[in-house]
Symmetry: C2
Amino acid sequence: MNDGQIPLGPGAEFETVRAMLSRWSGLAPGVGDDAALLDVPAGQRLVVSTDTSVENVHFKRAWLTPQEIAYRAAAAALSDLAAMGATPLGMVIALTLTEEWRAQIVLLADGFAAASRELGAPIVGGDLTAGSELSIGVTVLGAVKHALTRSGARAGDALWVTGTLGGPLLALRALENGTVLVPSQRGRFAHPIPRMREAQWLVAHGATSGIDCSDGVAADASHLAAASGAKIVLELDRLPLVAGATSEDAASSGEEYELIVTAPATLDRAAFEREFGLPITAIGQVEAVEIPAPGLETKNRGQRVPLPRGHSHFSG
Amino acid sequence: MNDGQIPLGPGAEFETVRAMLSRWSGLAPGVGDDAALLDVPAGQRLVVSTDTSVENVHFKRAWLTPQEIAYRAAAAALSDLAAMGATPLGMVIALTLTEEWRAQIVLLADGFAAASRELGAPIVGGDLTAGSELSIGVTVLGAVKHALTRSGARAGDALWVTGTLGGPLLALRALENGTVLVPSQRGRFAHPIPRMREAQWLVAHGATSGIDCSDGVAADASHLAAASGAKIVLELDRLPLVAGATSEDAASSGEEYELIVTAPATLDRAAFEREFGLPITAIGQVEAVEIPAPGLETKNRGQRVPLPRGHSHFSG
């Protein structure tokens, strides 16, 4: 089925679905059955991830336009596909709407459409329900030949990060203080771009493990260390900073959606930067585990320093 | 990764994940990476559906145990796979928890485990967030060779339904009145069993379209009519009833999770009932469209009657 001309039954739920489909011409093939049918290319594995964004937990209404809220929820989910080196097959959107948000459905639909179009992920299904707060659950489906997982870091690898860090934390701080965002802060906060092609390039160039930076680089690097049973040394003074951020800001800034990978120290950094117009920086290394417990160690100018706190929606 | 010994990083979110994994030994392979990796059998298509259950919209805390709430949310989602004739590959669970519900996480985990075990769907991933109400989003993944869709109903087919109808509506009515549920009411309400194998049997025996009964048989049959561009006549006096239900109850009772299919009138009903110990009943037929608009017509003892109202969370 296509072009929003989906034969759906009666009811308010379907009116809302129709309003969304009218904005999704061509981006939402097949919506309308009990389930969506997709094909995984032969020889590839299916990659699945889900991510939920809840109003007043992950964002505040005053900070972002409805389009940005929807785009950002989809981009956050798609970033988990990027982190695996996968190519999107589609996404499924579960929306819980208050009455007030239901009146804004077309604006939310436009944000999902932007993510679908820009990031190459058709909208293949969804679910709509009423509730007391806006919640956007996005499940993403992708395909991959050789997946980048968290568990392959090897002693001798360098730790790399794409882009520059700290923007979302500075943006949050400014929003909470009621000050105006500068573009370097607002850009990656309101319109993060999952590093899909970058991750595929890194897999092709020897990356051994990877994760997207959603909890803060210190917390996420510790996930790589734990999953790989390795010791990872993160050098805070080498973190690539946006203007105005300290290395502590950069280490704990969440929702960056940059890639953190372990890869050979000889990685052709210049080739990456030419290909994507994006910096990639060595920010530490993977060391042999000398003691039983693997984990993350943080250094600043060569001296061990305490682990910066990660970003947690529960403890925040 | 297996047996709940998943290397996850620090933080309250991970403590909650660990508490769930400790109850999911063997049922949750691979949880812990950015995304799950699955394989769709060669020659089969991927089937994906999502369903969200929100407290006070889809259920009330006082009506069900936490285990039942979790089981039911998963079963509702898996029923959409059943309706397509698919076999489950796995499910992804997105939980939004209040502080109070977070304290009950082990009971919810046990309900998901029961659904996973009984319905053959491994838990392959998820997401946890805080929020002001309990919300359970379950995205299910399955595989199918020949999918049963809503759009294949043909003039001359009979309309069939599995099981008996009305139990969930009687259960809801009793709960709202504070009266005690009898087992025939409580059973399918608290512990619905998606008709997975039954749907596969029906596909193999000539079913042309199908849907699971989630909005009420009248509303769901009208979805089949709309998607198939056909006229479907539903005969209310032929609906199979649980004890105490009227045909109007049965027509509008939602969340039944029985199958509604169009299939030849010659379907071997006795063979189905022998195989599954479950009745299957012809409740109408698909007619040639004589006027431009397809749709559903309801009859009672051969006379046209108004369409019974479906079940809608928005209008309810």
